[in-house]
């Protein structure tokens, strides 16, 4: 009885526990467009410390700093590409969730297309070879095969 009371009390108490929400600062933007660009860019930029989060989601100190810098730059009138250049100059291509096309990232960007093309070519080759091998249904036997079947059947019959 006592124990169940304690459990119930605990459960009730747990309802009052404050969820440990990350405090993400809010910025006042001078216009709506800037705010949208802020949302967009902070989702595109990757947090250098916590590598699988963008800076919008991360509460790492470095992500806070980058958000602050992003805000300052937006309010300062920088264009999207200027801001991205600024971040890349400091943290490398790594900060972009969509790395730019360059010699180093060419494989990354082209591989899916190349693989798809390779798959299509392979499929066409296989299909054509199947066609070339007679263009007939494999379940039907050719004359020569019929002949051989008969001989085999005859053999086995005469053998038994």
């Amino acid at each position: 009885m006592n124990r169940s009371c304690a459990i119930i009390a605990l459960l009730l108490l747990s309802c009052f526990v404050m969820p440990a929400t990350a405090v993400i600062e809010t910025y006042e933007f001078s216009n709506e467009e800037l705010e949208q660009r802020y949302q967009h860019l902070s989702a595109e930029l990757r947090c250098p410390k916590c590598q699988n989060q963008n800076i919008a989601d991360s509460n790492a100190p470095i992500a806070q700093d980058l958000r602050k810098r992003l805000y300052q730059q937006l309010e300062g009138g920088a264009s999207d590409s200027e801001i991205l250049d600024y971040m890349v100059a400091r943290y490398g291509e790594f900060v972009l969730y969509r790395p730019r096309f360059s010699g180093a990232t060419a494989v990354l960007w082209l591989a899916p297309v190349l693989l798809l093309l390779a798959a299509i070519v392979l499929a066409l080759l296989v299909l054509r070879r199947r066609k070339d091998s007679g263009g007939r249904d494999d379940s039907e036997l050719s004359a020569a095969e019929q002949q051989r079947l008969h001989t085999l059947l005859d053999e086995s019959e005469s053998g038994s």
Binding site: I62, D65, R69, V88, R90, Y91
Partner: protein, 179 residues
């Protein structure tokens, strides 16, 4: 290709995949090359720890030196500190970048643990850190006599890191300066 050989295709694919995965096990995703390698140390004008003077880039370049980004809230920095003291005794110039820290805490730390730094740049809001591409202390930059960043080490500098990585580069840069 004979039908026999075709049977080996899955095995070959598996071997290739296994090789890539094996390589992946050894790679540390946190070890990123700095974007500032072979680029000049960023411009700054910031207070010097424990004095009222401002320091700028020109005040700290001119010889091959280490720039150590540290803070009192950084646990690994405490681990690293005794080795920095040793390096200073060996005559290696080390400048500190006191990154997002409280001056009082930093001064107390230096008093207690010794001061290996020529001087400390107070980077209270992390702006120099951001220009350097710092994403967590401790980080150590090797800067040549011309003020160009030549190497960045993320994490603790200990005897092994110094002997295997930093010292050879350091010597190389010293000799580069001689002629």
């Amino acid at each position: 290709m004979g039908p026999r050989l075709k049977l080996f295709i899955p095995l070959i694919l598996f071997a290739v995949l296994a090789l890539f995965l094996l390589r992946g096990l050894e790679l540390d995703p946190r070890e990123m090359p700095s974007a500032l390698i072979d680029r000049p140390l960023p411009e700054f004008t910031l207070p010097s720890l424990g004095s009222d003077t401002l320091v700028n880039r020109e005040a700290v370049i001119g010889e091959v030196a280490l720039f150590n980004v540290w803070a009192t809230w950084c646990v690994s920095c405490r681990v690293e500190h005794p080795y920095l003291n040793q390096l200073t005794q060996q005559g290696v110039p080390i400048y500190g970048v006191n990154y997002k820290d409280e001056d009082q805490d930093a001064l107390r730390w230096l008093q207690e643990l010794g001061n290996p730094y020529r001087l400390n740049i107070v980077d209270a809001d992390g702006s120099l850190g951001l220009d350097l591409g710092v994403y967590g202390a401790p980080e150590t930059y090797l800067v040549d006599a011309g003020g160009v960043i030549r190497y960045r080490h993320v994490g603790v500098v200990d005897e092994r890191v110094w002997r295997d990585i930093l010292q050879p580069l350091y010597q190389e840069l010293l000799e580069e300066r001689m002629p």
